[in-house]
Amino acid sequence: MMLEGKIALVTGGRGGIGRAVVKRLMREGATVYAADLTENGSLQTHDDDGSQFIKLDVTSEDDAITAFKTVEQQHSCLHILVNAAGIEIEKTIEQTTLEEWNQSFAVNVTGTFLTSKHSLPLLRAAATQGATSSIINFGSYDGFIADPGLAAYCATKGAVHALTRAMACDHGPEGIRVNAICPGYVDTPMLQSFFKGDGSGGQGGNIESLQQAVRDVHPMRTYGTPDDIANLVNWLASDEARYASGQLWVLDGGLSAQVQQMRL
């Protein structure tokens, strides 16, 4: 077990990726808080996984303060913060309303800011106990190159990448490591919604063939699973990664290593 005795909080902890992360961290011996808008997050149901649920809207500073107060009362420190809450508006800038734009930044960027800011005292407390503590943000491969019809999302992820490096510089001296994972396509409700969306060209039509085409364009001929992402979260959270900070970890089955795959 790699995370025995560690305390972790995962925002979006009941989402597709968040759930897998929560489970993995628990399996490695951590005590885990799953923070999300609702008990079910982005899925229909939730089976008890032993995590402690905290109701948290990452866009609310009060919620963030309250959540970390709870952690403080119970454990007095936090080793691992995973910022996995996120939303995706599937539109071009022309179609995007100002409210949708602001909401995208509120959740994906401001959310990361607020939870990181208010967890710092607890992360510092964990770091003084001889180990490093670790913040793991969620960027995206879309923060580097654009998918059509995802303008606000791409922009928020670029912001998360820059924020990750900035936080790593500022808080490294305090023993806090900050990294971002930039997934390619991971099979979660977010991806299924993208398959059905306008930008995808699937238009609710032949999802099967679209999914196959998406697999085929990956050098590894598959898209990712939430467990693939959780494996990297686990490593970045662990003491094995004590020299890893300020980096953007692209995990995408080789997708972004290649030039456009023309169908010749």
């Binding site: 190159i145 654009a146 930008g199 679209l210 290649q258 456009q260 010749l264």
Partner: protein, 246 residues
Amino acid sequence: MKLNGKLALVTGGSQGIGRGIVEAFIQQGAQVITCGRYTEPKDLPAACNYIQLDVSDPAAVNRFAADIHNLDILVNNAGVQVEKNTVESTDEDWDQVMGANARGVFNMCRAFIPNMTEGGSIINIGSISGNIADPSMALYNASKAFVHGLTRSIAVDHGPAIRCNAICPGWIETGMLEAGFATADNPQTAMHDALQRHPVRRFGKPEDIASMAVWLASSDASFATGQLFTIDGGMTAASPLNPGLF
């Protein structure tokens, strides 16, 4: 005219991108020399001097450099490609691709930098494939990554006297591109598909690369050095997945 009175040398200027650069440089007032492995092509502009030279041959490059003084602009454009993966590639393929694309650029830079004027500009033609991989182009991709690395080294080592940048073209319309479509199962669909992956909805032309070369060669770019400039109609800004196409 942006390059009035400048002396420029462009390798591989007989056709394609190199030819586009030769013509643009002449138009901007430069005196242009180009070179190639074969005898002088008949349709080369009269204002351009042609020398037969294999850039992969260090001795030949050194002999040639001894005759040329006060060079202002060097464009390393000559290159070859072999469409094979690592396991398929032979020693001859290595010599050919690395010889022209990597060693050739090195030979030219080593021989000419001492002869270049203060404020001179070297422009290497790299490729988007030096950053991300085209399938079955192993040696080619690697040779272009070499060009990118050497570009930065020259900028760092030989500034402020010389600026050195690379242009990374995407899909440029030359004979090679058309041949590619001709062998597709359905050339029409292949062409449509490829165009959709370009936000500007066209392929590049040699002129597109040439106008960037003019800029990099001119004093307008006097603060630009050590960089890679991609010109690809937006192709590499878009996800290779581009689901709108499926």
